[in-house]
Amino acid sequence: MGVRLKTADPIWWGLFSAGGTVAAFLVPVHIVVTGLGIGLGWIPLETLSYERVGELLENPLVRLYLLVLISLPLFHSAHRLRHILLDLGGGALRTPISILCYGGAIAGTVAAVWLLV
């Protein structure tokens, strides 16, 4: 069934949709559990204590989960941000915009790998 297309678009689109799915299912609860919930006092601050988070991160599955949670949504955002900029009239800067958006997601992924591995 495999076809070879002469463009990298399916790779970017695949990362975009995988990231969109990860973001749709996981980002809202993360904002509440590790952000708003703590700030508003629903969840005790100790859940994010230095010792506990350090202990959690010793588990390689947790590190892999965080890598996916950070990297894929970045590719999702890069793809949409590129479209917003083109829609708002950035058509003349098509290539620089693409490099900036997808390059940003790649840089974020490299940083996540460096911090988690």
Partner: protein, 134 residues
Amino acid sequence: MSATSAQRPPRYRAQRPSLWWLSNGRYFLFMVRELSAVFVALYALSYLVGLYRLSQGKDSYEAYVAMLHHPAVLVFLGVALVFCLLHTVTWFHLTPIVMVVRMGRKVIPAKLVLAANYLVWILLSGVLWYLVVN
């Protein structure tokens, strides 16, 4: 004598106004939906910063977590949550259009796919909440 392109009267090509996305409500909603990606990215970046602070030691990390009580941070998180929920809802409603789920020869109705999305989302959120809090 046939009409050549040199003699043909010019076509008129209108320029698209840069505020085209305000010209109807659906275009505007599309723009807001796409804008949610900015908040998704900012949230991913906040995790990156958190991990960096963690690598810098206890004091640096605890100063970062303490910022969660700052009103400006809470306002940002509130706005981010609204946009990310908008992303979740729009993404779920677009999924059945994009994915035709087939079981044998039958196509699963779109409403069922949508309901499954919401169910999995609620379950996943509950499990994560439980894991983080306990």
